[in-house]
Subunit: 457 residues, 2 copies
């Protein structure tokens, strides 16, 4: 345990920042199942992926054996602008809870995109630039990923086309303006700019769009325009690789003070933050060097781990993307309209799915009113207005700390505070006005979408 | 000049953080003129101020001789949650500009209130709590101060009543929700909750409010309710004292790397950020130990320093507050409706006014389209979306760096980046859409409001 007095915030020096990403798959005895072609049901080869993704990112996607992959200097220089992110000792929260537990959080919200998404956005933009591309396309829902990518593209002088789910485009005009300020073109999806968009608009004239539809449009534009590729902010192995910078910094910061965590907690949508935060700790666990309780927290309204099925499924609602073996609620599952914020993906990272399947981590789900209760408490005590997504981890960290209060155990809890809630104030307003409700899908609803899973031998 | 290689961000350790605020007035040979009673025109005594302000803050307001005032431990602990703020070397901006100048900025936006205002809010809330008060009242316009005070009051368990200018209340619902999340009651001003509000509403039924009116309501509530006091986020000497933490951290960070700035630049509305940033440097200048160019930047639409008069005037538009000797455009001056963001105060800190009058600093004004041009450039290169207020300093820092490019001089420029622009995206949208314009008041307009200055012997 701690030998030196721990400051409120542990910052690494530039010398202590990671020089390589950690590829968790290298230490997994049972590797995640490969992505499969949706038509042939054969594992996808590099040459089938390079028309969609940048060459070097395809290599990273498929690399299961190299444990450390060097972070190019250009990316490290960009990281230096907003990283290292602080590892914060939540002294005030501990005191308020009256817990003997020691609580730490890794805060990834101190950058204009407002979340950890920038860690992978800058990497993906760099490799696109290096390949001599003109630009990239992507989709965005809540807007954190689109904002991060816009910033990354502005830095490298790349064109950035963002397909933003129409309902978010209209309800989150400020997210849109941040992206425009960074020079991105933001198109409400579905749009008249693509064939698939025109088709959907003809069939459903009043539609407010979906993530699946936005993905389809972004992929179409990337593949039809020479010099463009498609990029994605979660789920993929390459994204978890880039996000390992979160966990590597966290581990170095803890090691500096001789701290060994007992419990590591992260929210889970597609798995980008959780996979990054836990990477080096899970590595130790896989190699038998240390043991940690690792907890994924998901919304009760979209419970992939806790109520989903471990099977091959489409990554997108539009069923045009590759098949991935993961915990899934079925690609036709759509969370209740009352669900605020992100973490609304029906599936999960294949790497995290395999680890959960093999018993290396736990998962739990929480209802959103209790999440916002934790968010408000945290904001008042620790002075940071958290994103709704991050607040899932806060909820469980508080619950675990309160268990320690009962048992008297001095456990060390580390959780990921992925971002800030400045663009989520419509949801906060609902909570402040007592108008927020919970929704838990019925077994029948989940069974109905799981029944539509593709048949794979 | 620099001896060690300077990292992208210089963070102080907790041990290096200031333990006392620096009271610049102690080193001024010519002290700022005292506040005067608006009726008797006599200098205000402590006992006349204590019904409005907390006792210990009144002492700080009137103390012209004590150079260092200890920061209470409770405040230092709160500071540790979001401070030290980074002093950032703008390597990327320097490279983009192709300037030999070295540019640094002190970034105060890494906290949920989004600006430096929290530095004084937490101090004022602490002294209110220490005095055993129930709560505090204040006004807010753009909302940074109200948000900061809400956070501070939540931390100390104080009631917080914020009178928010009605037009901002309606146009900035997200600012309002952050304050509510921190437990503050936010009332659109003018309101039916005060006598002065009722009177104004009866006379001007459709009014969208003004800062002056909100001040009047907040002061009325503070003085009529036992256990309440009024607090203010700028202009006052006590506020400059608390904000000296910005400059003290900046100086310590520069000293660590042997860096001596040539030019120090800050935006100026009421003077809270500028007065805090320059404090220790101005102290050296006043004591003849060093010399610096110090530049205040104000909007061309509200040019107190550059086109105002050095005279006694009311601090508020409602003319109920004390008289202060300052550079003023006249308390009836209202900036053009097209002016975005803060920095719209007609007057200026008395301390800064005296220093400017005595030739210890320069002032310049900039037009808002050129400010947003600098803001967008900065966002894209340095990865931080700046507040419109802060962007005034960015504009002049860039201009000075470009002058160095012409002359080849390797000057060291330090500027204050007071906050982030997440709640200013209506203004960014105007700029992105090419709909932003400039307005410079005519000599006649300024002469008309200056003509209404109170007659003081």
């Amino acid at each position: 345990m701690s030998t030196k007095e721990v400051p409120y915030k542990i910052y690494l020096t530039e010398d202590e920042m990671p020089k390589a990403w950690y590829n968790l798959r290298a230490d997994m005895k049972v590797k995640p199942a490969p992505l499969m072609h949706p038509g042939t049901h054969q594992p996808l080869k590099a040459e089938e992926l390079t028309p969609i993704f940048c060459d070097e990112l395809v290599q990273q996607e498929l690399d299961e054996t190299t444990p450390f992959i060097e972070i190019p200097e250009e990316i490290r220089n960009f990281y230096k602008m907003y990283r290292p992110s602080p590892l914060v000792r939540a002294y005030c929260l501990e005191q308020k809870l009256g817990t003997p537990a020691k609580i730490y959080y890794k805060f990834e919200g101190n950058n204009t995109s407002g979340s950890h998404k920038l860690n992978s956005a800058i990497a993906q933009a760099y490799y696109a630039k290096k390949q001599g591309l003109k630009g990239v396309t992507t989709e965005t829902g809540a807007g954190q990923w689109g904002t991060a990518l816009s910033m990354a593209c502005a830095y490298f002088g790349l064109d950035c086309k963002v397909y933003m789910v129409k309902v978010s485009y209209e309800q989150k005009p400020f997210r849109r303006e941040v992206m425009r300020t960074y020079g991105a073109s933001v198109v409400p999806s579905p749009s008249e700019t693509t064939e698939v968009g025109k088709k959907i608009l003809a069939e459903h004239p009043g539609t407010t769009g979906s993530l699946g539809c936005a993905i389809s449009e972004a992929v179409e534009v990337a593949t039809k325009n020479p010099g463009y590729r498609y990029v994605l902010g979660s789920v993929l192995n390459q994204v978890l690789l880039h996000q390992s910078v979160i966990g590597l910094e966290t581990k170095t910061a803890l090691d500096k003070y001789g701290i060994k965590p007992d419990i590591i907690i992260g929210c889970a949508g597609g798995g980008s933050n959780l996979g990054g935060l836990i990477a080096p700790f899970m590595g130790e666990k896989l190699r038998g060097e240390a043991d940690y309780r690792i907890i994924a927290v998901e919304p009760a309204s979209c419970p992939s781990f806790t109520r989903g099925t471990f099977a091959y499924d489409f990554c997108d609602t539009g069923m045009i993307c590759p098949l991935a073996k993961m915990y899934t609620l079925g690609s036709s599952f759509i969370p209740s309209a009352n669900h605020a914020g992100g973490l609304r993906f029906h599936g999960m990272s294949t790497t995290l799915s395999q680890l959960y399947h093999d018993g290396f981590m736990e998962a739990t789900s929480v209802e959103q009113t209790s999440v916002f209760e934790a968010a408000e408490m945290f904001a008042r005590i620790e002075g940071i207005l958290p994103a709704p997504e991050s607040s899932h981890a806060i909820r469980v960290a508080i619950d675990e700390a309160l268990k320690c209060k009962e048992t008297g155990e001095e456990k060390t809890i580390v959780f990921g505070l992925t971002g800030t809630g400045y663009f989520d104030l419509v949801a906060y307003q609902k909570y402040n006005d007592g108008e927020m409700s919970d929704y838990i899908p019925t077994d029948e609803e989940i069974a109905a979408s799981v029944a539509k899973l593709p048949k794979v031998d």
